[in-house]
C-alpha cells in the first residue's frame, strides 16, 4: 500500500467528515465522484481546500484538465507527487 494514497484517503474522510467510512474502505482505483464513492461538486471544492492546505498544491501551474487528477485516490496521489517534484525542481 502506497503511503501517500493512504494519506489522501485519510484526508478525504477527515476533510469531508464522511461518517461511517474509514480510509481503508476507499479503493485507490475507485472513482471518487458520482458513480464510485459518490462525492459531489461541493465535496470537490472542500477537498481542493484540504489538498491545498495539506500538500501546498500550486494551482497556477495546472494547465491540463484538473478533473482527471481528481478522478481517483491514485490519480490524486500521482498529481500531488508531480506537483511536489515540480516544486522541488523549481527550488533546485
Amino acid at each position: 500500500m502506497d503511503d501517500l494514497e493512504t494519506e489522501v484517503k485519510a484526508l478525504i474522510v477527515d476533510s469531508l467528515k464522511l461518517e461511517d467510512l474509514r480510509p481503508e474502505d476507499i479503493d485507490s482505483e475507485e472513482p471518487l465522484f458520482v458513480d464510485g464513492l459518490g462525492l459531489d461538486s461541493i465535496d470537490a471544492l472542500e477537498l481542493g481546500v484540504a489538498l491545498r492546505k495539506k500538500f501546498g498544491l500550486r494551482i497556477e501551474s495546472v494547465s491540463e484538465d484538473i478533473k482527471a487528477h481528481f478522478a481517483t485516490v491514485r490519480s490524486l496521489a500521482r498529481f500531488i507527487r508531480s506537483q511536489q517534484a515540480a516544486a522541488a525542481a523549481q527550488q533546485a
Partner: protein
C-alpha cells in the same frame, strides 16, 4: 456601438473573425458560430421538432443549441439539470433532446455537431419561447416561460450596468451552469450580445477556473465557490479578472473580503430570481452595502414589507411579487431582510430567522450569523455568530455570556423580545455545507448542551465524532481529538497531551447523550492511564452501560492499544 441584440445577432452580422467562444482549446469565430447554428438548425428542422430540450455541459454548445432551435422555429427548453431522473420527469414536454455529450438511454437525442449545410440564420422572432426552471431546492422545479426578447433586454441591461468594467473581447468564465437564468444571462447571452467571449466549460474546481483566467476576464461564480478559497495564493496582476460575480445566495462577509484580496477586485453580487432574472447588484467593497436596482427596474415594498419588482424582464405584466422581506433605503437602494418563509414561532410570536440573521450581521461586532429555533419543551431562539475583529476583541474582554447579552441588547432596538436569541455560540467559521436540513442539524447540534456556555469560546470542548457503532450493551465511537481542544489549554504547557480529566468527562457526557446513561457528570470513578493520549489523532472510545451495577465502563483505544480505561458510578436517571 449599437445596442446589443440577440434577435438580430446574425441579421446585423459581426466581423467574421470576431471571437465568440473558446472551448476545448479551440477559438470559435463568428463565422464558425454561424455555420454551427445553421447546420444544427437544419438538422432540427429535418427532425420536425416543435420543442427541443437543451442538455449541454458546454456554454458554447448551449448557445449553438439555443439559436439552432430558434432558427428552426422550435421552443427551447432548458432543464434544471441533466440528471436522468430530471429528464425523465420532463417526458411529454419535449420532442427532441439536444446534447453535446453522448448520452445513453435517451431516445430522440440529437448530438450537436460542428458545421453542416443550412440556411444562414436570419433575424429571430423576439417572442420566440425559451423555457427555464427554478432550481427546485425545495419540492418540484417550477417551469418559467421566457421569450428571446426578455433574455435580450436583460443582456442589454447588464451591459449598461457592468459593461464599462469589462474590456471588449474579454473572456467570461464560469463555475455555474449556463442552463439556469444566472448562468444563461451572464455566461451566454451577455457575452454574445456585447462582444465578450464565452468560455465553454463550467469549472467545478478552483484549480481549473483560475488556470483559465487572463487579465481583464470576467468570472461568473457563486458563494459555493467563493467560500472555499482557503489555500489559494493571490492571483498575479497579469491574470486578474475585471469582474467577479456572485449570485444564488448571500455571500458572507469573510468570503467577500477573502475573494477581494485574492482577485484584486471586489465581488459584485447579483440579486435576482428565475422569474425576474437579475434585479439588483452591489459591489462588496464595503461590508453589507445596499442593493441598487438595475437600470429600468423598480423595487418596492408591499404593505407587508415584501419585495415587489417592476421589470421589463418579467414575462406578462412586468410585476413580480417575491417572498423576500426588504427595507427601502435612500436613492432607490434597498436591503434584504431575508425570506419571509423562514418563520418560526417563539413563545407564540412569529419570528423571521432570516431577519434576525440580517439584523445580527448589521452589528459591527458580527461578521456572520445563523439563527435557529431549538426544539424542546418550548422552542427557543439560538444564534451562532462569527465575531468580527471588533467582536472578537469584545468577546475576549468580557467573555461569551456577557458578549451574548450585549448583542441581545443591540438587537432589542429592532426586535421584539421573542426575536432575541437566548442561546449563543461563537465560532471562527460557520459549519460548511449547502443550506438545508443537514446544515440546520449541524447548527442545532452546537446547542446540544445548552446548560453551560463554552468556558473558552472559539475552541471545541469535545472531540469530533467521526463514526458510531452500536454494541449490545453500549456504543463504540471513532473520535478525532483536535489539537485546539479547549480542555488542553493550561494542561502540560508545551506538551500536547489530552488530560485524563477531559477523557473521563467526555466518557460521562457521551454516555449521557448517546446511551441515556447517567447525568453526564463523573463524580465517582476509577481510571487507569496505560498510554499517553496525544491530540491531533483518532481514537476509538468504547462505552458499556452495566445497568445492573449502575456503572459505565469506558476504554480509549488507538489502533489496538488501550490508552485509558476506567469506570464511572452512575447517578441520576
Amino acid at each position: 456601438m449599437t445596442a446589443p441584440t440577440l434577435s438580430r445577432l446574425f441579421a446585423d452580422g459581426a466581423p467574421e473573425d470576431r471571437t465568440v467562444a473558446v472551448t476545448n482549446g479551440e477559438t470559435i469565430s463568428f463565422a464558425r458560430f454561424r455555420a454551427d447554428v445553421a447546420g444544427n438548425a437544419a438538422r432540427v428542422r429535418r427532425a420536425g421538432v416543435r420543442r427541443g430540450l437543451l442538455v449541454t455541459q458546454d456554454a458554447y454548445w448551449g448557445a449553438v443549441g439555443l439559436f439552432a432551435l430558434l432558427q428552426a422555429g422550435a421552443e427551447a427548453i432548458l432543464p434544471p439539470n441533466a440528471q436522468p431522473g430530471t429528464i425523465a420527469g420532463l417526458a411529454g414536454a419535449w420532442d427532441l433532446l439536444l446534447c453535446d455529450q453522448p448520452r445513453s438511454g435517451d431516445e430522440n437525442a440529437l448530438m450537436l455537431e460542428p458545421g453542416g449545410e443550412g440556411a444562414a440564420p436570419g433575424p429571430f422572432d423576439p417572442a420566440a419561447p425559451v423555457t427555464v426552471f427554478t432550481s427546485g431546492s425545495t419540492g418540484e422545479a417550477k417551469r418559467i416561460a421566457k421569450t428571446l426578447a426578455l433574455l435580450e433586454w436583460e443582456a442589454a441591461t447588464l451591459d449598461r450596468a457592468l459593461g464599462a468594467m469589462v474590456p471588449m473581447g474579454a473572456t467570461v468564465h464560469g463555475t455555474v451552469a449556463h442552463q439556469h437564468v444566472y448562468g444563461l444571462a451572464f455566461r451566454l447571452c451577455w457575452p454574445l450580445a456585447s462582444g465578450r467571449v464565452i468560455a465553454g466549460p463550467a469549472h467545478e474546481l478552483w484549480e481549473g477556473a483560475l488556470s483559465a483566467l487572463a487579465a481583464g476576464d470576467a468570472l461568473v461564480t457563486s458563494p459555493a465557490h467563493l467560500s472555499r478559497m482557503d489555500g489559494i495564493a493571490p492571483i498575479a496582476p497579469a491574470r486578474r479578472p475585471s469582474l467577479v460575480l456572485s449570485a444564488g445566495a448571500p455571500l458572507a462577509e469573510p468570503a467577500a473580503e477573502q475573494a477581494a484580496a485574492l482577485f484584486g477586485v471586489p465581488v459584485t453580487e447579483i440579486f435576482g430570481s428565475t422569474e425576474t432574472g437579475a434585479i439588483a447588484l452591489r459591489h462588496r467593497s464595503s461590508p453589507d452595502p445596499a442593493w441598487q436596482p438595475l437600470p429600468g427596474i423598480t423595487v418596492e415594498a408591499d404593505g407587508a414589507g415584501l419585495l415587489r419588482v417592476r421589470s421589463p424582464f418579467v414575462a406578462g405584466d412586468g410585476l413580480f411579487e417575491g417572498a423576500d422581506r426588504i427595507a427601502l433605503e435612500a436613492e432607490g437602494g434597498f436591503r434584504l431582510l431575508g425570506r419571509a418563509d423562514r418563520i418560526v414561532k417563539i413563545e407564540g410570536k412569529r419570528v423571521s430567522l432570516a431577519e434576525v440573521e440580517a439584523r445580527l450581521r448589521a452589528l459591527p461586532e458580527v461578521a456572520d450569523a445563523v439563527a435557529v429555533s431549538l426544539s424542546g419543551p418550548a422552542s427557543r431562539l439560538a444564534a451562532v455568530v462569527v465575531p468580527s475583529g471588533e467582536g472578537a476583541a469584545r468577546l475576549a474582554e468580557v467573555g461569551a455570556f456577557r458578549f451574548g447579552r450585549q448583542l441581545r441588547r443591540a438587537l432589542a432596538a429592532t426586535q421584539e423580545p421573542a426575536g432575541l436569541p437566548r442561546h449563543w455560540r461563537f465560532l471562527d467559521a460557520l459549519p460548511s455545507g449547502p443550506l438545508g436540513k443537514q446544515r440546520h442539524a449541524d447548527i442545532a447540534s452546537l446547542f446540544e448542551d445548552t446548560a453551560s456556555m463554552d468556558p473558552i469560546p472559539h475552541r471545541p470542548t469535545e472531540p469530533d465524532i467521526r463514526a458510531t457503532r452500536p454494541l449490545p450493551d453500549g456504543l463504540e465511537l471513532d473520535l478525532f481529538l483536535p489539537a485546539n481542544l479547549a480542555p488542553l489549554e493550561g494542561h502540560f504547557p508545551g506538551m500536547p497531551i489530552v488530560p485524563g480529566v477531559a477523557q473521563i468527562d467526555w466518557a460521562a457526557k457521551l454516555a449521557a447523550r448517546h446511551l441515556g446513561a447517567g447525568d453526564g457528570v463523573a463524580r465517582n470513578f476509577q481510571v487507569k492511564f496505560r498510554r499517553v493520549t496525544v491530540p491531533d489523532a483518532s481514537v476509538t472510545l468504547t462505552l458499556r452501560h452495566i445497568a445492573a451495577r449502575r456503572r459505565l465502563t469506558f476504554e480509549y483505544r488507538s489502533a489496538d492499544e488501550v490508552l485509558t480505561s476506567g469506570s464511572i458510578a452512575l447517578e441520576g436517571p
